[in-house]
């Protein structure tokens, strides 16, 4: 193990650029033949998954970076190419790589320009991994923005009827946030340069910048503008339901599994450690927004007819929970937040996958037209039920583990928040049960395709289901990986 760590081989760059190479291959080989593109995408995603799994297994619970790369890049501006992998990044990268394989499988039958479609999926993967590895603020920003382009095209070209509206809304919301981030990054860089004479974007160096209270608050808010939009936190969420409802299935899987996670990651890796004082001052506000979002999203989810929108709003509700955990600012709650993030990604990916399958078979996503799937498609319905139960926080299934940790962590600091949040779980049970009831039971909706799961769909759903149960019963391995990075991030943020 030490041998691998000691080697100079740029393993992280390999991980980062494999999907990009795959995307180019897709465009070259797959231009004439769509099947080739699919296989190239699947194989690339598989390789990345194996790579990230190996990196995860190599990970020791010790502090510090397992792997670190640092090269000079654009000297004129003091921008460096710095990548670092610790437990936190490796868990999220593994999640990304895993979901990406499924995203490729889910959209296997994509017929409109498959080469470009799969190339975009792979570019998205590179960008997401880059965000999780970058330690130079401009490098981070670069990947952060790079996530936008493929997602924009995935929604805008391969989406449903109102795709242009949804794609532009998504693009504008996230871009406004990102540009606030960019402005703050540039100002911070100039300030640091004036203080020390060294102009650099390195995260570690910028942490040392001396800031006045107001400056710190403004910078923090600018950083958070980018991150809360991506999470999305109430009231910055309105792009998400549209993006989900109008985007293709793989787009939804990636959106829920990859993009939303990067927002939270940005907060704990960049915003909180860079501006600890401002962060702790604004924590109550964050908590209030999280709690309001938790209830609001649940309420709106209850009103929806479109099942994809219900799942989208449930996402917002769960992310509210995650943010609440961060606001508690202690080890247990933070671990719970990251765990819930992983769990939520898995369950939601499962839900979106099944929703796409239901739509394929019935041609509709409207709750009032669906029903009786349990009779016609028992296997698919069983998976749907499992994911729904996980989503509403049934003990023993994925989400419960994260939620209980968050609740414990929050309770030790602010019991009132925890009590309100528990009521929120109740709300999520209400809309989830409505979803289950309306889809699986009731009068049959006469689906035009009577075929239950095909092998490819089994292949998508079984790993997800296994993970949902595993993470629910035994989240220990993930928590062990998270412990050290989370505590060091908390320390650098300063304990309250």
């Amino acid at each position: 193990m030490t041998a691998i760590m000691a080697t100079d081989f740029p393993l992280l760059s390999l991980l980062l650029f494999t999907p990009l190479a795959g995307a180019l291959m897709c465009l070259v080989i797959g231009a004439a033949n769509g099947t080739n593109a699919r296989w190239v995408a699947l194989i690339t995603a598989g390789i990345v998954f194996v790579l990230s799994l190996v990196l995860c297994l190599l990970q020791t619970p010790a502090a510090g970076w397992l792997l670190y790369e640092d090269y000079s890049w654009i000297e004129n501006f003091g921008i460096r190419y710095t990548l670092g992998l610790d437990g936190l990044s490796s868990v999220l990268i593994l999640l990304t790589a895993f979901l990406q394989v499924l995203a490729v499988l889910v959209s296997w039958r994509q017929n409109h320009a498959p080469a470009i479609f799969f190339a975009l999926l792979l570019i998205l993967e590179t960008a997401a991994i880059g965000v999780l590895l970058a330690l130079d603020l401009i490098l981070f920003y670069l990947f952060w923005e790079l996530m936008l382009i493929p997602m924009f095209f995935l929604i805008g070209v391969w989406g449903y009827k109102r795709r242009f509206y949804a794609a532009v809304k998504f693009f504008l919301f996230t871009l406004i946030g990102s540009l606030c981030l960019l402005l703050a990054v540039i100002s911070l860089y100039l300030l640091h340069g004036e203080q020390t004479g060294v102009y650099t974007f390195a995260l570690e160096a910028l942490k040392q910048t001396e800031l006045s209270g107001t400056q710190e608050l403004i910078f923090f808010l600018c950083f958070m503008a980018a991150f809360v939009v991506k999470v999305p936190l109430f009231p910055f969420h309105s792009w998400l339901p549209d993006a989900h409802a109008e985007g293709p299935a793989a787009g939804s899987v990636d959106l829920a599994g990859l993009l939303l996670k990067t927002g939270v990651y940005g907060m704990i890796r960049f915003a909180f450690p860079l501006f600890p004082v401002a962060a702790q001052k604004t924590m109550p506000i964050l908590a209030v927004l999280a709690l309001v979002g938790l209830f609001y999203a649940a309420w709106v989810a209850f009103q929806q007819i479109d099942i994809k929108r219900i799942v989208a709003y449930s996402s917002i509700s769960h992310m509210g929970f995650v943010i609440l955990g961060l606001a508690a600012w202690n080890q247990t709650a933070w671990e719970g937040s990251v765990l819930l993030m992983v769990n939520h990604a898995v369950t939601t990916a499962g839900l979106f996958a099944v929703v796409a399958m239901i739509e394929q078979r019935t041609g509709t996503r409207a709750l009032d037209q669906l029903g009786g799937m349990w009779k016609s498609h028992p296997n698919m319905s069983a998976f749907f039920l499992l994911f729904c139960m996980a989503s509403l926080g049934l003990p023993g299934l994925a989400n419960f583990a994260g939620e209980i940790l968050i609740l414990i962590g929050v309770f030790t600091v602010k019991p009132l928040w925890a009590i309100i949040a528990v009521v929120g779980i109740l709300f999520s049970a209400v809309y989830t049960l409505r979803l289950v009831q309306g889809t699986l039971w009731g009068s049959s909706c006469e689906p035009h395709d009577k075929q239950d799961l095909v092998p490819r769909e089994w292949l998508v759903l079984i790993p997800l289901a296994v993970l949902v149960v595993l993470l629910g019963c035994y989240p220990q391995p993930v928590l062990e990986l998270l412990r050290e990075p989370v505590s060091s991030l908390l320390m650098s943020g300063g304990l309250p």
Binding site: W73, N76, E145, L146, L179
Partner: protein
Amino acid sequence: MNLESLHSLLPQILLALGSTAILLGGAWVRNRRLWLIVGALVAVVAALVAAFVDPARIDILGMYSATAYARFCTVLWCLTVAATLLISCRYVDLFRFGGGEYASLMLFAAAGMSLLSSATSFVGLFLGLEVLTLALYVLIAFRQGDSRGAEAGMKYLVFGAVATAFLAFGIALIYAATGTFNLEAAAAGLQTEEGLRPLGLAGWALLLVAIGFKISLVPFHLWTPDVYQGAPAPVSGLLATAAKGAVLAAFLPLLVMTGEGVADIRNVLWLLAIATMLVGTFAALPQTNIKRMLAYSSVVHMGYLLIALIVAGDEGSRALLFYMVVYTLATFGAFGIVTTFADENGEIQEYDDLRGLATLHPRRSAMLSVFLLSLTGIPPLAGFFAKFGLFQAAFRGGYAELAVVGVIASIISVYYYLRPIIALYSPEPAVVCREVAAQSETLVLVGCAAIILFLGVYPAPLLTLVGLVIP
């Protein structure tokens, strides 16, 4: 004029002689593509000479200079013209242009641009600008029997003539106030507290109006969309890039100076920059014609470039040159793609006609997306680092408010840059434009896209280069 001066002016002389030779040759041999390629070769040779042959002297008769900066500009404009000629190959056949005349005028314009950005006196400036503008008058209305083209040519002529009048009168007033044609001395003369200062300032005001017309700053931008729409696409590309860049480049050395007179000008520029960015942005939003949209986009980008001009200093100049190169690549590329979409029925300009073209022409659609996204400033395309350098320089120079307005304009710009892209990729079947792009077109455009991608990932070479040549 002695031999040394001639030697220093070699690139411009090459362009002018080449232009004349092609004009004469074109009368005998009526092969369009041949003359275009010869013209492109001449431009490339001139660029090489400017880049690698050391001039015998820097100052040429007190009118022009052969500094590294001037030569850098010459290289840039020569290459732009060469690229314009190459992508016009199929276009000139399609619309039966006279190949010799077209190539000759393009080279003439290149000579004008090169003179313009190396001018050190008002006389040199005026000469360069007129050489450029005269060639453009003809080029804009080059398509015979095309009423829009004629309208565009007429509009450009009228506005251009008025602008020239302003320019001449402004120069006269400045001369009266300062007693010199030398640009730097004239600007320095403004700083003294003498009785004639108001006269000089009035002269500068008139001058600014003329420049405002040429690079279409708000409120002098109204001709831009009509002219770009009516002119042949490759000519619009040249108009939006090199023709504007050359004018801006001529004034960059001036604003590096500080002092009261320049400070007054700077305040006016500050206002113009904000107005240009905002008005251009909002005017671009409702456009449904890609050439008109690109026209407004060029207005907005001129506003961005003004920021760099105002910041001036090392930082500002570096940002300006870098931005200019990247903007030139992307805008030229976008007009280039419009050129390749032209067929015997004319150019494809409306978004409705662009619908579904991506299925027919995946490569060109991808390239157009690259160009437009680079103009938006999305990483990992070169436009990002261009904007980054610009806003960074603005912050550093103490013009944070300009940077903020620029960022807001960039956010809004997403909407109008994305609309044509979405139209291209919509799944409806395309009804127009089944033509395959000519090889020369593909070559040039792929080159542009590749450079944009490369600079987006690794901008250091160009940054270092512009750091070396700044005045």
